[in-house]
Homo-oligomer: 146 residues x 2
DNA sequence: CCAACAAACGCAACAATGTTGCATTTACGT
DNA sequence: ACGTAAATGCAACATTGTTGCGTTTGTTGG
């Protein structure tokens, strides 16, 4: 399992056209194994607890940036303003559909509805991503509230 | 207009059950006058450029926290992980149109485009709010990047 | 395999944003 | 006016993220 995962991460990194280093492989493995997006601190802890040498703080930041830059990881900010990273391969593609976010339980539900076309932007603005998020109570939380 | 706004902020703060201080009135006025959510730094600049004495950094943080705690302001994180504040009373002005969020400077821009109709929700889900957020680079940040 | 070179790394310093402790001042009910 | 809890100003600190630079390493062409 470990060998398979490592090989896979290695291949992904090489295919992305960047150097395959031990740090990148370990970080991408960790992101792929994670059940949820991890922040820098969580990754640092997790990599330190492994028996290999721990990564330098700055190197970890740069590895994460490089994985994001080559499309192998996704970066998003959490409610506290901390960046969290997830493996692009381990995650569904959430870029092309609508989400419902429950304001009570925090759950995110993928809706089977396509994104509406974006309106025209002011001159010079560059669109990179569209988020159509519906917020409210999910069925479970709505029932509990009533 | 200034007197009206100041009186209104004063009343709102008093009605919220907290002490009416010059700092709270100035900050709430600034939030109400703003066309987009402001971060701590933007508020500090704006309050310093007025001819009154500038607020202490920490006091501004605490004023913002107190306005949020008593429901007069809303706090949300921007794409860079920086907290932005808006007047709760001004929120209704942003519920019916699309926003563009710059991933570089964190700025929020109101677009003159109506929200698309929401797709059908799963049974039991209760819709309370619709966010159609476009993300990317604003004109200024896009120019600087190029 | 070797050498050359760009990329990546480790370390220190720095920057941006936000918090805590504490002495002093202020708002406001009495 | 007075007493008191709340708010303020200032210094120090914490957390998260970035920059500069000399050293090491992965990769590639010979
Ligand atoms: Mn999804
Ligand atoms: Mn931050
Ligand atoms: Zn829910
Ligand atoms: Zn911008």
């Amino acid at each position: 399992m470990a060998a398979t995962t490592a090989a896979s991460s290695t291949d992904l990194i090489r295919a992305a056209g960047v150097k395959v280093t031990r740090g990148r492989v370990r970080v991408l493995d960790a992101l792929n194994a994670a059940r949820q997006p991890l922040c820098h601190g969580e990754l640092e802890l997790q990599l330190a607890s492994a028996d290999e040498a721990s990564l330098d703080r700055v190197t970890l930041y740069r590895i994460l940036d490089s994985l994001v830059a080559c499309g192998l990881a996704l970066k998003a900010v959490d409610t506290r303003g901390v960046f969290r990273f997830s493996a692009a391969a381990a995650r569904h593609r959430h870029v092309d559909h609508v989400h419902f976010r429950c304001i009570d339980c925090g759950g995110v539900f993928c809706l089977k509805a396509e994104l509406p076309p974006p309106p025209k932007l002011p001159r010079g603005f560059r669109l990179q991503q569209i988020d159509f998020d519906l917020r409210g109570l999910c069925a479970e939380c709505g029932t509990r509230a009533a």
